[in-house]
């Protein structure tokens, strides 16, 4: 029907499957995210370090070039390399989360748009998953995806013996990044839902990480304990990654405790989201 024929008519066409509805939330959120040129530039910049590492790995195996420069190799590609790679990319992932995360849920809450989502066959869980997929996919693209690609590149160039000797690294690269992505995403979404202003939510995310770490250090110094390390979320993530990559780490918190704390933080964020992401809030009166 032509658009100028102004009469109401129903719809009798095909419908998309229910499971795919959360991807619509993701698609429109992506569209909104990449309208911000600064963010697009930053996201592109996040690939500079992985590309440099890829070039480094290639040069490592270019025997003629290595011989010309008179070195054995530029760097060793081992567990330490991937641990440090994820630390660098993790820092960039945190900045990306602070830029993207606060704008995901807060505008919908500020504009009272949630009833419009939930009056359709879209559950609250699907909405949260849809929004979370934005962060998960962006953060994945700059953390475990390039790390695994580097692993593959190194395996291809160094041969099967290197790959079999270091195969245990592959699942740990994924796991180490996954816990980081989970904590960053949940925290960003929960703060975005609780603080309706985008800028304030971004500031709160920075505060949780930096003030938390500072407060934890202060608590350690004053009380002569190491319990303050539990407030340092960045430190906890690195403790988990250090355990996964069998690297030394200065924190007194064991890997297991760090895992549990991070999962508890994620669970708490989920509870916060469940409280806030509703069509209407019932006010106690």
């Amino acid at each position: 029907m032509a658009v100028h024929k102004r009469s109401y008519r129903g719809y009798a066409g095909q419908l998309t499957p229910l499971w795919s509805r959360c991807l619509i939330v993701t698609r429109y959120a992506f569209k909104n995210v990449f309208q911000w040129k600064l963010l697009t530039s930053f996201f592109s910049a996040c690939f500079i370090f992985p590309l440099t590492c890829a070039v480094g790995i290639y040069v490592n195996h270019n025997l003629r070039l290595v011989a010309t420069l008179g070195v054995r190799a530029f760097f060793d590609v081992d567990a330490g390399f991937f641990f440090h790679f994820l630390r660098v990319q993790g820092s960039l992932a945190f900045i990306l989360t602070a830029l993207v995360g606060p704008g995901l849920v807060s505008p919908d809450l500020a504009n009272n748009a949630l009833p419009l989502y939930f009056c359709r066959p879209l559950s609250r869980a699907a909405y949260v998953v849809g929004k979370m997929l934005v962060l998960v996919s962006l953060l994945s693209l700059i953390t475990w995806v390039p790390a695994l690609l580097l692993f593959l590149l190194q395996s291809t160039l160094a041969g099967a013996s290197w790959m079999w000797a270091n195969l245990w690294l592959a699942p740990n690269i994924f796991l180490g990044s996954a816990i980081e992505i989970l904590v960053f995403s949940m925290l960003a979404l929960a703060l975005s839902a609780w603080i309706k202003r985008k800028l304030a939510a971004g500031a709160a995310l920075l505060a949780v990480f930096f003030f938390g770490a500072g407060f934890g250090e202060a608590a350690n110094a004053v009380m002569g304990t190491h319990k303050g390390d539990f407030l340092n979320l960045g430190g906890l993530i690195h403790a988990v990654q250090a355990q996964l990559f069998r690297q030394p780490w200065r924190s007194a918190i064991s890997g297991g405790s760090a895992w549990m704390t991070l999962l508890a933080v994620s669970g708490f964020c989920l509870w916060l989201l469940a409280r806030k992401v509703r069509a209407y809030e019932v006010v106690r009166g």
Partner: protein
Amino acid sequence: MAPVIELEGLGVRFWQRNILQDLRCTLSGRAIGLLGPNGAGKSTLINTLLGFYPVASGTARVYGYDIRTQTKQIRSLTGYMPEIDCFIAHMTAVSFIRMMGELSGLPSSAALERAHEVLFYVGLGEARYRKLGTYSLGMRQLAKLAQAIVHGPKLVILDEPTNGLDPPARQRMIRLIHEMRDSRELQILLCSHLLRDVEETCDEVLILKAGRQVHYANLEEERRTNKRFLELETAGEDAGFAEAVENLGCACALTSGRRMKVVLPESFVMRDLYRLAEERNVQIRRMNYRRDSLEDIFLKAMENANGRS
């Protein structure tokens, strides 16, 4: 007509406070009005039907689907225009309506086509590429209506659709509701505290007060069976005039010396009354001719509710 909404002892409670109590009714009209003063529980009923609020007792069915267990099916069949101002400010109207269409299950291309269509239909065709944040209140109401009908629902729920509209914008909204109702493609549940809106558009009405159902009326039937009332004030030799009027098939009641109330039958011709007055040399000084309006029904329902409480 098959029932649209069946309320089966529905009750909603928030923190030990009863918001809706024991609602029992079957609604099946093309346009159903939900009336009541502010705080009567109209919006709560709508939100409960959509599964936003938990049910404390009883249940309800929308097109036969239970609101306790089949909210997804209900939401697939309904479109909802909330009372509150809700939109996504940074989106253009067309992309907003398209997204809402896609979330309702329309494929992307169909959603885009329908978004253009409904925006033209509600009268926002020329402004469809403007961001919603720049819209006036009246335009935002129309955009809310557009998102409620973009997926072609079977039931569209309109919560105070004329709130904050100036008279021409209100007229436009009422005209749209009329058109949708008359298209016979969907049924309408209109929630309002404005009697005029409901009277102009609905053929069935449920009146709530303080969370309780105080009256149900089939307006179409009421309009058909409503007796027509005449209030007459006469002068002159009117002895036996009332009796003569009764002989015309009317029911007559003298309220004071020269005033009478006359209930007219459907077949009554007014000319007969004038002829009778002329024959008997009776002057008709005043004559009020009226039907029972929704306002009367509403006021009676409120009085009855007050009497009960």
